[in-house]
Symmetry: C2
Subunit: 367 residues, 2 copies
Amino acid sequence: MALISPSRRLRRTPFSDGVEAAGVSAYTVYNHMLLPTVFASVEEDYRHLKSAVQVWDVACERQVEVRGPDAGKLVQMLSPRDLRGMLPGQCYYLPMVDETGGMLNDPVAVKLAEDRWWISIADSDLLFWVKGIAHGYRLDVLIDEPDVSPLAVQGPLADELMARVFGDGVRGIRFFRFGHFDFMGRDMVIARSGYSKQGGFEIYVEGSDMGMPLWHALMEAGRDLDVRAGCPNGIERVEGGLLSYGNDMTRENTPHEAGLGRFCNTATAIGCIGRDALLRVVKDGPVKQVRGIEIETDRLPRCDRAWQLSDRGKRVGQVTSAAVSPDFGCGVAIGMVRMTHWDEGTEVTVETQDGTFPARVRENFWI
Amino acid sequence: MALISPSRRLRRTPFSDGVEAAGVSAYTVYNHMLLPTVFASVEEDYRHLKSAVQVWDVACERQVEVRGPDAGKLVQMLSPRDLRGMLPGQCYYLPMVDETGGMLNDPVAVKLAEDRWWISIADSDLLFWVKGIAHGYRLDVLIDEPDVSPLAVQGPLADELMARVFGDGVRGIRFFRFGHFDFMGRDMVIARSGYSKQGGFEIYVEGSDMGMPLWHALMEAGRDLDVRAGCPNGIERVEGGLLSYGNDMTRENTPHEAGLGRFCNTATAIGCIGRDALLRVVKDGPVKQVRGIEIETDRLPRCDRAWQLSDRGKRVGQVTSAAVSPDFGCGVAIGMVRMTHWDEGTEVTVETQDGTFPARVRENFWI
């Protein structure tokens, strides 16, 4: 692997000092910001994530703050999910689409109040689209990227660690809900959410100055829990079927192709910019869709490009994320598969830069 | 330095196979794509760039293609530079701003025809803004990212190398003009432009399948010219005062602060979305502006964050790109300096993560 060249353009985070001190060994870049990807090794990080608790610098989940009288109207314009029933205190996973129904991002929207939202984004400059739409439609909103940096606490011991720092009240936060908690006299929004299937929280740290004090407090409080610096894990997130925008779906795909139809209420999401196009998609359904792909192998090259899926030489889809799973003893992958081959158990071939592998389509992930 | 984690999201380019074979040692990420930053070493690459010729994979300069009856109108909405005199065959460096005059990108726009443009972008998803504006204003345009990947040929021997591959006609291309040339039966737009001060060309390679054939043809033709794989050089571009969006200016800055006032005709750029805000800026001029900063040192830490510029403890600006220059025997840097300290020769202190250094403000760069 090559090195990453530091520059101001690849922004550091309020937690970077802690990440470096913990011995980060690799990064990716996400929303023009450094996102750690490996500490000890992907496999060792994976074992630890599944058994203890980790603190993740996910500051790269930048926020698009939308506030003002038209805030709710604007957020509905961005997504085919019906937001009428959403209450302040809730988080919604929202596919966001352009006028053709192509995905622009798959953020978690945090409804702070009727007229104030944080859109916690995946890797694309969604801010530019939101600003363009707000300007073009002359909406009465303010849009900006605030100084808010999420810090995730993930793993089976997450509740215990969080309770030690924020009090037992955090244990009562329900999935995809959030509450307000105090840390050193400052208000923090804490949601039960995160990019793993191990359970945990995301703390929306408002004010960069609070980054390292909170980092240290969590590390200190969790010493006997074997708390460590961690990061979204390339094996665990594939096992869990957690999609990655830019990897597993792009602007080329509709939410339905990405398997996110359950987050779309296209008929009733009135105002959604991509609604006309998606109503068309919904009529017949997509012809390809995201699936789990089980690869028969105990070694894989790096999935740094789309791998074709084929059946007797005919292209039937592609794999976009893959890793070898220690727990399941096979290659685990996320791919987009054509309707002809998307049924459970269909046998396909994965064509990598390093040779081909036999594989099987799964309707569910490894959960 | 840490490693970079490969994933499909950090897109490979049509030239990646050549880049890898040439022994790339570090990357950055730019428009969700890999951009090589170092081959042998930054210093050795620098020497070679200034004396020979290099082929650069700058596919990450993605294109926003705008076509249709409203294409010209839309491009003018994006920039405060007056485009009325621009002819097909010309390239313009265009600051692009939002409704507050904040910079969103600083692309080179390639006017292919009255109704067809390529906007060759710096590191931000300008596509999202352009699509949002076009949709909001109901403009009659098509907007997309085409399969066009620039390959730069830079260095004093660039003309000679290009003439060997494309014929002597390329020698006649004037600065920031382009022509159409044939390669293996395919049309290529070739402009005299590029992100160095050593002279050269950018080839807009249309069709990923042409990437490696062209790469090999250039390497083969330039063997006796000592042609090598190269990349934008972190020392040379600072010496030359070539700004980097995300490093030296961001959405926080106006074009005037970035020293790009000469590319703005705010009074006559009628239709520019940020015009009202910039007319206000132009009245008094900016209170801080980009300058060269000469640092008295022969070693510097990596400029991975903004370094404060101070004068007797008072903050007077910041440095955002810096390197030690072998040719000038000092630290060369780009910074934003307050009006009180921006005159030639003003002495300031640079505060890095690794100690402070005495420095002097320059009105010009090292050219």
